[in-house]
């Protein structure tokens, strides 16, 4: 049996066995960890070798003689498989100490099963090679993740989140199905390959439909509404997997459909770029306004999906304009950002999970000073924050750097594409700045300063299996940031399998780029070490004392006087008022001795705000008008069925 399916069998079997052994809580977790983790490791090895083998690997199974399940793993699939297995492996490890509620043993077992199914189905999605296999895996993935979202179904908001996620994922799937239906209608075959033969107008419709469908999974604005609800509802390691890799299957879908249609017009690039820029900027703006740590991270996924789409959009424009270097830079940057985002976002979600686990709260403004008692969590979270802001010498910088270089190449294109690339570059700059503001807020308010509540005061970090994945991911952030060459060639391999007609891609110019990053990182470290040495010398034999923070003349400061996350972000959010309306609630101060007061603020997401009036209500009104069809009379329903059969028999 080959390694790919063996890995899947391990993962799925691990999930089943965990559920079976739910009565022995620890044994269940050990089985889950070993089988799922081992399966992921096997899969990782397999995907790694497949990434470097010259031709794609494929397998076909006939299912009930009705249709065939067909799989093909080319370098693009392998690239995504590497990402999926890496993150799922670490998430499985993380879950060992995270899932510690023995009284919920059965539910934990169920969660292991769905986690295993989710992992396996994601692997199947990116290796599916015909419409039916893809759709089947896609639905398994959506359903298994739905059950993971409603893990804590007692809370009403979690059930709501699950419902929202279910609606979005199914509507998205219907769009994909519509796109696939069009492909089938015109090509008459379920194979992926035949999509290239479609007429041009159909290709545009297929791409737009698929983009909407995949975009709703990826969290492209305005289809991201489910993300900030579902991620906080799920357990943290599941949030890490969902945000880190599951939403990337949407990106995979977009790239795959672009490749299959094999029609490289600039229009696709424009569409993807516009979606990317809007998601990128609005994602980070909304993130800035959040009070819930996991919601904030969820909005950052929207932002990073934006960055990935900007990269891919630039790549598509490069292909359309027959500028191979620009195309490769854009696609490689986008794909590398898929890997990078998976790494730092899982790291951040795991860090948030540790905070939640130890303090029991996700409210940013209730935390503070955690880095003193949670050294590893705090430090790794800091590394992840630096990486997500795209700062050198960490991994986020590398992919953004490639996207920037690709964007600058776009300056030589015709007017529309030029304007798009110009906007893309400026958007990336603004996104970078806003992300920095957002993560200085998170690190500053959650991990630094003084604790704002007793729970934050008494927090401590526990659980080796939770700390190891965070450490591994933080190290990965640094390694990719300093030595990006290997990882960029991985991304380039994946790009090569897109069959853009560039033949063998010469690696030398790209390796030169990443070589520069390595040298620059070395320079930064060298200068830093020099400054460190000088500082040490300067402090030799000096008196260093500790005392309270300078209160600018105020002698009785309290922790409540600290700047909160809300106040930190308020100034910037003011600028974005039109897209991020702020509602505030606090009573006016009256008389000389004011009473105890409060302040609530909420930043509304315009997509969510207008979803009701723009989409839901018109649809409901329409269905209201069609209500007479559903009268409850069984005789007439049988009549409908008969009528349908007759129509199908005679007219189709």
């Amino acid at each position: 049996m080959n390694l790919f399916f063996l890995a899947l069998a391990f993962i799925f079997g691990g999930g089943l066995l965990s559920l079976m052994f739910w009565r022995q809580f620890v044994l269940m977790k050990i089985i889950g960890l070993i089988a799922i983790g081992g399966g992921c490791l096997l899969g990782l090895i397999d995907a790694g070798t497949k990434l470097y083998r010259p031709g794609p690997y494929s397998a076909v199974f006939d299912f009930l003689n009705a249709f065939s399940l067909s799989f093909k793993i080319d370098a693009l699939s392998a690239f995504f498989l590497v990402t999926i297995y890496t993150i799922c492996l670490l998430a499985a490890l993380y879950s060992y100490h995270y899932m510690d509620k023995a009284q919920k043993a059965l539910r934990t077992g169920g969660s292991y099963l769905f986690f295993a199914v989710l992992t396996a189905s994601m692997a199947l999605v990116v290796s599916a090679n015909n419409l039916i296999t893809f759709m089947l895996s896609w639905e398994i993935m959506s359903l298994s993740s739905f059950f993971l979202v409603v893990y804590n179904y007692e809370a009403e908001e979690n059930r709501k989140a699950g419902y929202l996620y279910f609606v979005f994922t199914q509507v998205g799937a219907m769009f994909i199905l519509a796109a696939f239906g069009l492909i089938y209608a015109h090509s008459g075959s379920l194979g992926f390959r035949d999509a290239a033969a479609l007429p041009d107008t159909v290709k545009i419709i297929v791409f737009v439909l698929a983009f909407i469908g995949f975009g709703s999974k990826a969290g492209v604005f305005p289809l991201h509404v489910w993300l900030p609800h579902a991620h906080p509802a799920a357990s943290s390691h599941i949030s890490a997997v969902m945000s880190g890799v599951m939403i990337k299957t949407g990106i995979y879908g977009i790239i795959r459909i672009y490749m299959l249609l094999d029609w490289h017009i600039a229009l696709f690039g424009h569409l993807v770029l516009i979606a990317g820029m809007i998601s990128g900027i609005l994602g980070v703006v909304y993130a800035l306004g959040q009070h819930d740590l996991k919601r904030l991270l969820a909005y950052h996924s929207v932002e990073n999906i934006g960055i990935i789409l900007i990269g891919i959009g630039i790549g598509m424009l490069g292909v359309a304009a027959e500028k191979p270097v620009m195309a490769l830079l854009g696609f490689a940057g986008g794909l590398l950002h898929v890997l990078n985002h998976a790494i730092f976002k899982s790291l951040l979600f795991m860090g948030a999970g540790m905070v939640l686990h130890q303090t029991g709260t996700r409210t940013i403004d209730l935390l503070g000073g955690l880095i003193k008692r949670m050294k590893i969590t705090g430090t790794t979270f800091l590394v992840g924050s630096l990486a997500i802001c795209g700062l050198p010498p960490l991994n986020g910088f590398v992919s953004e750097f490639l996207v920037y270089l690709g964007g600058f190449r776009g300056m030589a294109l015709d007017k529309t594409s030029f304007a798009m690339c110009l906007l893309a570059i400026v958007s990336l700059a603004i996104i970078g700045g806003l992300a920095l503001a957002c993560f200085t807020k998170v690190v500053g308010v959650v991990f630094q300063g003084e604790p704002r509540s007793p729970v934050a005061e008494n927090a401590a970090e526990k659980g080796l299996s939770m700390l190891i994945p965070m450490l591994v991911l933080a190290v990965a952030c640094i390694v990719i940031g300093v030595f990006p060459t290997f990882f960029m060639t991985m991304a380039l391999k994946a790009v090569a399998s897109l069959e853009l007609g560039y033949g063998q891609i010469p690696l030398v110019p790209f390796v030169a780029l990443t070589g520069n990053i390595t040298r620059a990182a070395a320079l930064i470290f060298a200068v830093f070490l020099l400054i460190l040495a000088i500082r040490k010398l300067l402090y030799q034999g000096k008196t260093v004392t500790r005392s309270g923070t300078w209160g600018c003349g105020f002698t009785k400061p309290t922790v409540k006087m600290q700047y909160t996350g809300s106040s930190y972000a308020a100034f910037i959010l003011e600028f974005f008022k039109p897209v991020a309306p702020l509602t505030e609630d606090h009573p006016a101060v009256k008389e000389r001795f004011p009473e105890k007061t409060y302040y609530h603020s909420h930043v509304s997401d315009i997509a969510e705000l207008h979803m009701g009036s723009v989409v839901v209500r018109p649809v409901l009104t329409l269905f209201e008008k069609l209500r007479w069809l559903q009268h409850g009379d069984i005789h007439l329903y049988i009549g409908y069925i008969l009528l349908a059969i007759v129509v199908l028999l005679f007219f189709v």
Partner: protein
């Protein structure tokens, strides 16, 4: 290579002097004699000799702040073509790295401020996080313009030798907007009037100064040094833009550069003397002006070129 190193060392040594020149200009406008020109060296030496007091709220990040911000500023200087000479390091795309490196410095300055749990420092940090976002957009806009003119993406391609003159020759009048936009960015990024007032006495109205309130001794000296470097970096770029001439003689060229650089610093001093700091909510509009200027310069230039 040797020349680059000499000029780099010269830049690092002279940066505090030029900053002191601003004080001198301000003193002149105030009708005072002002502190000696070497004041910044005295201050640095004084600070280097001292010990430090750390807040009980702070962690290691507080100590990292000054080091990382100085490190970022120093590395940036290594890529700067001082006086039109080839810089020590340069590669395709280095300017993106430099802008993000300054971002890294900013991240740690803000993080160090948040480490103290002081409400004032938080306030300063929020402002410090805000204004540079617009500056970055401006700088990338200018970068787009320069890239379309030269097809290169590194500082050396814009600011060494006759390259800057070449920029003027191809783009012409629209490029006039660029030094002004750059100057606004300089004022913003280096916390000068009318964005921030380094000499103010009320913590509520500060941006940068309030963030470093708790730093003392050598740590504070590192911060000061870093900000001298940063100002020198931006001022050099403005200088090269307004004085792109090559004289054929390196010594004369360097002399001309350092004189014009003095003029740029004088302009900073004059701005600080003749105008007041803007109200905080007006600052974004002021900074956005730089973006608008850069945008117009780009659009007009490209309209002429294409």
């Amino acid at each position: 290579m040797m020349k680059s190193i000499i000029f780099l060392i010269l830049a690092m040594l002279l940066a505090p002097l030029y900053s002191a020149w601003i004080l001198k200009v301000k003193a002149f406008f105030g009708g005072r004699k002002g502190s000696p020109l070497l004041i910044n060296y005295y201050t640095l030496i004084k600070l280097f000799k001292k010990g430090s007091v750390y807040s009980t709220s702070t962690t290691l990040i507080f100590k990292l702040g000054p080091m990382v911000s100085l490190c970022a500023a120093a590395v940036v200087l290594m890529f700067l073509p001082v006086a039109g000479q080839a810089p020590l390091f340069s590669f395709n795309g280095d300017i993106i790295l430099l802008l993000y490196l300054l971002g890294l410095g900013r991240f740690f300055t803000i993080a160090a401020a948040m480490d103290t749990a002081s409400p004032f420092e938080g306030m300063g940090a929020a402002r410090e996080a805000y204004f540079p976002i617009i500056c970055e957009a401006t700088l990338f806009m200018i970068l787009i313009l320069f890239y379309t003119l030269t097809g290169e993406l590194n500082l050396a391609a814009y600011f060494t030798g006759g390259q800057t003159l070449g920029l003027w020759q191809t783009a012409g009048p629209p490029l006039l907007f660029v030094p002004i936009a750059f100057f606004i960015v300089l004022l913003t990024e280096n916390s000068r009037v009318p964005v921030d007032d380094p000499a103010t006495h009320l913590e509520l109205t500060m941006i940068h100064e309030v963030m470093v309130l708790d730093h003392s001794g050598p740590d504070f000296a590192l911060i000061e040094l870093g900000s001298f470097f940063k100002l020198f970096f931006y001022a050099s770029l403005v200088t090269r833009l307004i004085c792109p001439f090559t004289l054929g003689n390196p010594a004369a060229e360097a002399a001309l550069f350092f004189i014009v650089l003095g003029l740029v610093y004088t302009a900073v001093g004059v701005t600080e003397s003749v105008m007041a700091r803007y109200r905080m909510d007006k600052v974004p509009q002021f900074v956005l002006t730089s973006f608008a200027l850069a945008f117009f310069a780009t659009v007009i230039t490209l309209e002429f070129l294409k």
